[in-house]
């Protein structure tokens, strides 16, 4: 039996799916409405899963206050109410699709000192979700 603790957070942000080296036509052909010039926004929900032994003293894999603080500091503080393309350094040369957002957020959270972050799942809308998960055999 393996156990994971999962916590959900949300933040609104805007983005535009666009490659500057392509023409607007190429961008629209590939990214559709998401390439519109002024960007658009979503309420992103991120679901973070951590694994590790249950501390016998506390009954917890990780203290939620510590996890919340870490996610606040590493992700929410920077991502909440911003334009991802311009205000998040990782997206200067990378299209801010939700696939890439999963990867960027996973990297930012991977240094959590109290448990191992094993997955970051992001709901971009109620219909679209994406997940970045470490290989179970790693």
């Amino acid at each position: 039996m393996k156990l994971s603790l999962n916590r959900r957070y949300s933040f609104p942000a805007s983005h535009r799916l666009f490659r500057p080296e392509w023409t607007q036509e190429q961008n629209t052909q590939t990214f559709g409405k998401c390439a519109n010039a002024h960007g658009h926004g979503h309420n992103y929900t991120i679901e973070v899963a951590v694994r590790g032994p249950v501390n016998p003293e506390t009954g917890m894999i990780a203290n939620l206050t510590e996890l919340d603080q870490f996610v606040q500091e590493k992700v929410l503080r920077d991502f909440d109410h911003v334009y991802l393309n311009e205000q998040i350094p990782e997206f200067r040369d990378c299209v801010p699709t939700t696939e890439n957002l999963c990867r960027v957020i996973f990297r930012r959270l991977s240094g959590f000192p109290h448990a191992r972050v094993v997955s970051v799942r992001i709901e971009e809308t109620a219909k679209n979700s994406f997940e970045y998960r470490v290989d179970e055999h790693e």
């Binding site: 039996m1 393996k2 603790l5 916590r7 959900r8 206050t65």
Partner: protein, 137 residues
């Protein structure tokens, strides 16, 4: 292999306190959850069974039987109970979501006679849940 999931909800009270620690440490570690009067949640439990459907019935297991197991082992024992005082499997443990999910795994795993228990997902609130999954699943 296929998986089938049944969902149920129970309401229970709990609080977090470790008598080996000082009152200050208890408050620092557990925060509001250390309030000795307890507090409660509407827990949502998802129980997933994995197996091959029986060609005679098209079913992995009889859902009526699963419902009876869950009524007996989960609802009757945990619903409208105080988890610190009324569930023997949690005696001496802090009844966190992690410990409750582990206890439910230990309780339910041997009771599933057709298919096998694959995953337990226990929500304490819509934004917090624990997964308990079979090794290698």
């Amino acid at each position: 292999m296929m998986r089938i999931t049944r969902k149920l909800e129970f309401s229970a009270a709990h609080f977090y306190h470790n008598s080996d620690l000082s009152p200050e440490d208890n408050r620092r570690i557990f925060g509001k959850c250390n309030n000795a009067h307890g507090h409660g949640h509407n827990y949502v439990l998802e129980v997933t069974i994995a197996g091959e459907p029986d060609p005679k019935t098209g079913m992995i297991l009889d859902l009526k039987e699963l419902k009876e197991i869950l009524d007996r082992e989960v609802m009757q024992r945990l619903d409208h109970r105080h988890l610190n005082y009324e569930v023997p499997e949690l005696a001496g443990k802090i009844p966190t979501c992690e410990e409750i999910a582990s206890a439910l795994w230990q309780i339910l795993e041997p009771k599933i006679s057709h298919g096998r228990l694959d995953r337990i997902r226990l929500f304490e609130s819509p934004d917090l849940f624990v997964d308990c999954a079979r090794n290698g699943a």
